[in-house]
Amino acid sequence: MVGITAYGGGIPRLRLNRMAIMQNMGWFAPGLFSAAQGERSMCNWDEDTMTLAVGAARDCLKGMDKKTVDAVYLASTSLPFSTRQNSGILASALNLQESGLVTADVTSSLKSGTTAILTAIDALKGGEKKSVLVTAADARPTKAAWFFEMWYGDGAASLLMGKDKVIAEFKGAHSVSCDFVHTYRGAEAKFDYGWEERWIRDEGFTKIIPEAMKGLLQKCGLTMKDVSKVAFPCYLGKRVHGDIAKTIGVGKDQLVDNLHEVLGDTGAAHPLVMFISALEKAKPGDKIILASFGQGCDALLFEVTNAIKDLPQRNGIQGSLAHRKEEGNYAKYLKFRELINVEMGIRAEATKQTALSALWRHRKMVLGMVGGKCKACGTPQFPKTSICVNPSCDAVHSQEDHEFADKTGIIKSFTGDLLAVSVDPPAVYGLVQFEGGGRTMADFTDCEFSDVKVGQKVEMSFRIKYYDDKRDFHGYFWKAVPRV
């Protein structure tokens, strides 16, 4: 049996109230009002597609055996690097084995998430692969005061595909591929360009998706009535999504909410996000259609199995949606996305060149938060060094790799620094003591300074550490997230 063995969600904590966009820019674009319901997710200043992907993938791998993962596919239309394989960063952040692993970026279309799943299924069916991690993520840049800013959200979803303990069995798929251009972004462009929504609705969504679904149902020998849930994206708001469903014969109770009011459309990740939101509520025996949209449509059918009851606890989409903080300050959103040019001061001009040779040497430490554990005295330590840090041990070359990313910690000391260069001052950081031993001085993120206390628990999160605008290099490292 081939199918899904686990899922994970990666929605950023911040939610921009759409009325904040309206209130600030309604004078200029009053039409935005039609889309100004609810909220959209937004990346913190130190989050992007890559960090959301890592968050979703970590959630997906909770309680799973990551040593067996032999392929990592990352689907997105907003990856930080054009060359330097982004799925390679993801694999390093997850500290997956390097030898025997295939990594691939699947990109350039909003249907790339489902295409990655189909590719994973092919690899599993062919017998070459045992466990494939498919992650889809998007945090797309948009111009200020335009519908894309209203409709889009930032987010990621991850599916582990395999043959053992399958929680949703793959039953079949049908794809339609055609050069329908509803939006596009040129290779040199920063923002999407799009055609009229009415045409996209009538000629795109309403025609292409049913064609794929029809093919799928025929292949599976089923009718729409046999299906419990249908997840297909539509970024044009909740009402249009419902209208399209009606036109193509998907019932109200079958339609999976496009999460417009609480999330926005997360691009290549969105079909997976919606599918997982259905899977979280599904019963064994439920049949769920997962469909995408973008230069065609991939439609896949899964049937939920009994094994879903045994899946270890995870945040998923529900959990990461529930972990939210509303942001009503539109100017903050603009700064976080570098849509306004704010004076950062001379201190911020310090050079940020990355020594690629040092990054390679320290890749496990930097990307994977891997430290050492002394075989002689058992002391966990970060970083891993040649001589044990325990003063009464002093053993040489005694340390084996020790992962800290999944350890919780306790805050030993902290500050809120207004001198340090920060996009969102004060820069909050402090000493973190890990459960079971080991400690580090870490930046804190996703927290309010006034909530931070000595003794508070933290979890580690993969984040943007710096962006070198001179060399277009995104630097990542781990930060501590205080638990409230």
Partner: protein, 402 residues
């Protein structure tokens, strides 16, 4: 068997510039200013200086690397000159080099110079180096600043001793208020203005809970010493001699930062270096025997916890001593009688020698308005780096033969 440095070397002369935002002077001019006072005080000629040490931390914004900035600025006659850098202990390290060279018998007369020109960055605070801080550090070190790392002592200390945050903040305010009161009397200080505890507590935040007045200034300056043996000093006609009683350096080894024990409440290095210094100087009870101390008050909280690390206040007892006025100018052990880093600012390489300069003046009765009554031992202390990983120096000077 090593016998330590006590009374093997004396200070022949010292000089110190006015510290401050010296827009008028570069590093070379500052060094010449300190040197001219020093050589005049020593009463010797340049050619009698046989070797020199130069303490300087940030050559990137100063005169560049090596000891050439010192040899060229003073036009030293091709003698050996060595640059030393050990964060904020750089000045004391240069003094240590010169003192050890004399004590070894390799030279008769040596010079130590500490200098830092910080105010050529264009912004407040210490310079920001970005990826020039080292390729690995840049990849993993949080975006820390000096105030941000030292500030954490306050949260660690409060948690360890279960002291309310506002009690710690008040103790810190008294530290700064006392130093400001002292600095008013020092013409060479950068900041010469009395500030009340309430003003200090109400100041804008820099790095929580450190407000503006909990932080020392950033300034330019240089200080200089010429050292020799007691015999040579006598032969040159010097009567009252100030001798070196102890110089100790202790460096972190990663324990605080990497092992599981340290609670961000004290300095491991200061605790060790001061104990060694007392042994070297023959001091058994520092609380009773020290006459005055100049400690590294880069931030008020640093001074607060240092009072315990120097084994003067008991653990958890610094705030009480501070609030009781034990370290005030009229207290049992005046601390920062010259105004401290708080009023002098902190030109990194110069600070250690600036502290020794004050003790030298005090011991010779030349401290003017600030003169303490009959001082015997003066201790100076530097702390470079961060609470979690640092370099500590402790020096003790006193009257020779007493």
């Amino acid at each position: 068997m090593a016998t330590g440095i006590r009374d093997k070397v004396v200070i022949l002369g010292m000089g110190c510039t006015r510290f401050g935002e010296r827009w008028d002077a570069g590093g070379a001019e500052l060094m010449v200013e300190a040197y001219l006072e020093c050589i005049q005080d020593a009463g010797i000629e340049k050619k009698q200086i046989q070797a020199a040490w130069f303490g300087n931390c940030f050559p990137e914004i100063g005169l560049g690397q090596s000891a050439l900035p010192l040899s060229v600025s003073l036009r030293l006659p091709n003698i050996p000159v060595t640059r030393v850098e050990n964060f904020c202990a750089s000045g004391t390290e240069s003094f240590r080099g010169a003192v050890y060279a004399v004590a070894s018998g390799a030279y008769d007369i040596c010079l130590a110079m500490g200098m830092e020109k910080l105010k050529d960055t264009g912004y407040g605070g210490l310079p920001e180096f970005g990826s020039n801080a080292g390729p690995r550090n840049f990849l993993v070190q949080p975006s820390i600043t000096a105030p941000g790392t030292f500030a954490q002592l306050a949260s660690g200390y409060a948690a360890k001793y279960k002291v309310a945050d506002d009690v710690v903040k008040r103790g810190m305010a008294h530290v700064s208020a006392k130093s400001h009161a002292n600095g008013v009397k020092n013409p060479k200080a950068h900041l010469r203005k009395a500030v009340s505890e309430d003003q200090i507590m109400a100041a804008p935040m820099i790095a929580h809970p450190l407000g503006l007045f909990d932080c020392c200034g950033v300034s330019d300056g240089a200080a200089c010493a010429i050292v020799t043996t007691p015999e040579i000093a006598r032969s040159l006609g010097k009567k009252d001699l100030v001798s070196v009683k102890a110089i100790q350096i202790a460096l972190s080894n990663g324990y605080e930062f990497g092992y599981n024990e340290w609670e961000v409440d004290h300095f491991v290095t200061t605790t060790i270096a001061s104990k060694r210094a007392y042994e070297e100087a023959g001091i058994k009870n520092p609380r009773e025997e020290l006459s005055a101390i100049e400690v590294h008050d880069c931030f008020s909280i640093t001074e607060l916890v240092t009072m315990e690390d120097l084994h003067i206040s008991p653990r958890g007892g610094a705030i009480k001593d501070i609030m009781d006025g034990f370290y005030d100018a009229d207290g049992k052990i005046p601390c920062q009688i010259d105004g401290g880093l708080k009023c002098f600012g902190h030109p990194i390489g110069a600070s250690g020698l600036r502290m020794i300069y004050e003790m030298y003046l005090q011991l010779l009765g030349r401290a003017g308005e600030r003169q303490l009554k009959d001082p015997k031992f003066g201790l100076t202390h530097n702390l470079g780096g961060f609470p979690f990983m640092n370099v500590c120096s402790v020096a003790i000077v006193g009257r020779y033969g007493k």
